[in-house]
Structures are given as C-alpha cells and as structure tokens.
Amino acid sequence: MYRYDEFDARFVRERVAQFRAQVARRLDGSLTEDEFKPLRLKNGVYLQLHAYMLRIAVPYGTLSSRQLRQLALIGEKFDRGYGHFTTRTNMQFNWPRLRDVPEILDLLADVEMHCIQTSGNCIRNVTADHFAGIAANEVEDPRPTAELVRQWSSLHPEFDYLPRKFKIAVTGDARDRAVVKAHDIGLRILRSKDGEVGYEVMVGGGLGRTPMIAKTIRDFLPKKDLLAYLEAILRVYNLEGRRDNKYKARVKILVHEIGAEEFARQVEEEFAKLDGPSIAADAQEVARIAAYFAPPAYETLPARSLAFEAAKNENRAFATWASVNLFPHRVPGYAAATISLKAIGEAPGDITSDQMRAVADLAERYSFDEMRITHAQNVVLPYVKKDDLFAVWEGLVAAGLATANAGLITDIIACPGLDFCSLATARSIPIAQALAHRFGDEKRQLDIGELNIKISGCINACGHHHVGHIGILGLEKSGQESYQITLGGDATETAAIGERLGPGLAADDVPDAIERIVNVYLARRTSGETFIEAVRRLGLEPFKTAFQEKTHAAA
C-alpha cells in the first residue's frame, strides 16, 4: 500500500500544527465559532448531537494493521472504546473532545493518516472498489488512480472552495462495487479496442435530496489525460455551479440543468485550452505511486485447498460463513474474506477497539498486513490463503466478528442517524437492529439470498437509501419519526434510484412492511432469481399492493 514520502509527511505534520494553533485561537476567543467552523470542518471535526465528531480519512478504504491498531488506541484513549466505519470508508469517532483533537491528529500522522478534506466544500476522500487487485476480471487496480487523484486534490488551491462537496470514486472492473454512478465523478478503468488502458468518465451522480445517476461524458479518456480532464470538469463546475442555494449547488444539478451534452462540451472546450502535459503528474511519480500497489508476494498454490475443504466438512458454521463471506480471488489458492460489522443487533459499521486489534492481528498474520474498508461498512481481508481460512474464522469467532451475512438481508447499511447526528430527522440504527432481529435466522437469510437494505436518517442519504434494493428514509412527520420505503434501487453498474411504495410508516411498522415485501419475492421468484431481478421482472405493483395492505392494516 501507499507510503508517505518526506513531502507527504511534512504536509500532514504542518497541517496538524496549523490546526493546533487554530484550536488555541478558538479557545482563547480570537476566533468566533462562525470563523472557526469552516476550519474545523476542513479537518474533519463536526459538532454532533452529544459531542464533537472526528472523521478520519481512509483513502480508498485501504488500511494497514499498524494504522488500525492506532485507531484502536485513539478509540480507547480519547473516545468510548469504539469507532464507526462510514459509507465513504472513513472512520468516525463520536465522542472526542475538541481540546484533544490536535493530539489525536498527531497520533494519526504517526501512522500516515489524517482528517484533511473529510468535510467541507472540497474534494473528499476518494473511494475505490474494495476488491481492487483481487477481482478476476479487473482491467487494472483502481487504487493508483485513486491515490493520484487524492494527491492532486489535496489542498488544490483552485478547488478548495467549491460550491459544494465533491466526491470521486474509481473502479477497475466493469462490475461496479464502488457505487461510481452515485458520485460527482465516477471513473471506470477500461481497455480500448486497440488495447490502451484509460477511463470512462461519468459525471453528475449523487444521492441526497435530488438523487441522480451519473452520465458518461467521455467514453474513453487516455490515462495520461486524467488530471487535466478532472481539472477541466472541476473548473466548469467551479465557475458554473450554483452558490446561491446549497441544495442546488452539487455538480449533478448543473449537469441536469444544462444537460450532459452541453456539460461535456464545456468540459472538452476547457480541456482543449489546458496545457495537459503541465498538469499531468510526472511519469516517474505515477510509476512510484503504482509500485506501492504491486501485488503482494503470493505463494504458488493449488486452486483447491484440502485443508479448507476438510474444515468445511467438519464445521457447519464455518462452511456457512465461507459460502457467504468469501469472494473469489484471481490468484489460485487465495480468497478475500469479508468481515461483517453487522452482527445481529449491533450498530452497522461499529467496531470496538478490541475488535480492531483482533482484525489487525489477523491481517498481519494472514493477509499481508492489509485490509480494506467497504462502502457497505464492512472490512475485507484481501489476501488470505484458503489453507488459513479456518484459522482466520476462528479468530473472528473469538472477536465476535464471524457473522455470516455479507450481501444478505441483515448486511444493512445505516448512517448513524439521530442517535448521534445533528442533521438527522429520525433514527437509523434502531431500524437496522429491528430488521436484523426480524430476519436474523440463518436459514431464512440464506433462503432470501442477496438483498441490500440501506437506511438513511435524513434526506442527505449518507445511508445510500436511494440505491438500496429496499431503501428506508427516516423523516419527521408531525413531531414523530416516519419512514419512507423505496424499492428497486441498485448501487452497481446497473445503477437505479428506488421508487417510493407509499406513505411513511411509524418505526414499529417497518419490519412488518419489509417482511411483506420480502414475502412477495419469496412467493413469486423463479428458480435462482434474486430479489432485485424479481423486482425488475415483476415491476413495483405486487410489492406496492402488499406494502399498502400493511399500511391500511396499521391505519
């Protein structure tokens, strides 16, 4: 994985010193809250309901054991012994004290981490496919691109005060696991007909108040042109994006208002004017970055592991976990293992300091010292020998992390919601917990199969509800929490925004409503048909009818 050079290290340390001075000036009264707020936000410090919140960047979701251990230490020393992984693959601490933040930032700098640009109207943490470097059909590992974009966008002087926040995601695979079409810019690495590697460039995706699927504005962009093209996009947005209304300030609104064709025309015009070679990163620097993402020192192994097969035969729980939580690896004899942070009844994405240490130990011993954080709020051990999987699973069982539900109905994405977030209009975590209890039976989950439920506690959609197969949005209605249910959303390369099934429900009625929807699927699916495939084939009506029966019954 990427390691800081002397410039990176100095940059991050200087930023810590700068923020320490800003905090001191806030505390001595030299800075008012209005003056301080944008400064703290640029360093990932929010004020939430009960306390400050610190959001730590995990670039493209890649972490080393040493880094996770440091997060465990910070959680223990400065928080309440746990952290929370977000849909942007960042880690949030919910209880830090402002006076401790400079010290926390120093501890992060010790392990090449920071909180820069995890908030504010700037280019945010760049995300990527969590199976980067693993998936068999991948054209190229997306992380060198993501790292290049991260370096280019860090404190970019022209793009430090954009009309609104700006999110970029990269996938190296036609199968999209990074939700690139719900990003301000989505990049897909692909190969042209003559074998050249480049990017499909998608712009104007986003969730929130006005959900939009990104539009392709360039079918193929040569790799060398990436930064100049991004600069052209950001320049058009920076000049033309609205600043008079924060709800209309994202690039998706601009793309929607002037049309993708006109937006592309303006970008191409700007791109033609730019001096591309002067913007492109030096070839040596690109090679230096790429070298950090070279494959680890894999052993030559047979594709089939006798030890793995024997362990599955002897241990049913392990066999179930292996059938659900493993992802096929391009290298024979290896697998990628998803560690679910969705134990039944726990808050999605939460992990205790003890669990962080357990995961760090397993990654160090069995996965070349590396792990990935997923946008679905889970952790992946990317390079596990099949021979070692049983030992890994035993370690996970001991840490309470062996829940076999990756991709199933209880692998729910949920934002922190009103239990923590000051922007939320309703709670998310209790809904996730109630649904996990309702559908937690292992046999039942396996029978239902792949089904993504995504829950947001407000219209800002941090819980990605629009692209959930079943989406749940918590709102306030007449002083009560009310939950809108959507159906048919899709977060992959066939991205789609879910449609509302009917009026909002009280929290207590949500599990029954979801169960009725699931029952329609179970009754009407064809052999091997997944939930989302059945929704596409059947259309909304049968589900809507079942949903509204519930609503009427409750009324």
Partner: protein
C-alpha cells in the same frame, strides 16, 4: 450565529460545551452538565433571560450551538424535552444506554484535565 426562533414555553436552554462538546444546561447562573439542573422558563420574561444567557455563553466562548428547547414538566418538576431529537440530545443515544447523560457521564472535565 443567529438566534433561533423562540419555541413554545415552558423551555430550557441547552448548548454544547466549547472545549468538550458535552451537552450543558443553563441553571440561571452557570452551565451544568446535569439535565436536572436546567432552569425552566415559564413566561416570556424568563425565556428572554435564557436567550440573553445563550448570547452571553456564545460571546464568552464557553458554549456553542446554544438554543431554547420546549419541555414538558411533570408533577415532580422534572423537565423533559417534548421533541424526540432534543430528548435524545439530553439523554444520549437510544442504541447505547451506556453512553451519554443516561449513563451518568456527567463530568465535563475528568480530574487531572
């Protein structure tokens, strides 16, 4: 920070401590971490005093995000926010009863700090 609109009465004044972020309540003379210490304003004059205290707390760099919250007062005199958001803010996360005010984490600054 502009002053939020005054809510219906009775009301209390809450904020977050600047240094630590902890939710604090105006007692009439100081900021307390204990919800039970909150001064309850029952008329416009008392509410105006809470608003003044909010402005003073913000100006003195003691608190942030200070605003009035309408409450229900029970027979024993205990004030509880009427809105679920402020109730959660006053008590702590409903999913973690071991955290927040409800867990007895009342110290703004533990000994030694």
């Amino acid at each position: 920070m502009s002053a939020p609109k005054r809510p219906p009465l009775p009301a209390i004044l809450l904020a977050n401590d600047l240094l630590d972020g902890e939710v604090v309540f105006w007692t009439g003379s100081a900021w307390s971490p204990l919800p039970g210490d909150a001064l309850v304003a029952r008329d416009d004059e008392a509410a105006a005093q809470l608003e003044q205290a909010a402005q003073a707390g913000l100006a003195a760099q003691k608190v942030v995000d200070a605003y009035l919250v309408d409450v229900a007062v029970d027979a024993a005199g205990v004030a509880t926010p009427r809105h679920y958001r402020e109730k959660i803010k006053t008590e702590g996360p409903t999913t973690r009863r071991d955290l927040g005010k409800q867990a007895g984490l009342y110290n703004i600054a533990p000994a030694g700090n």
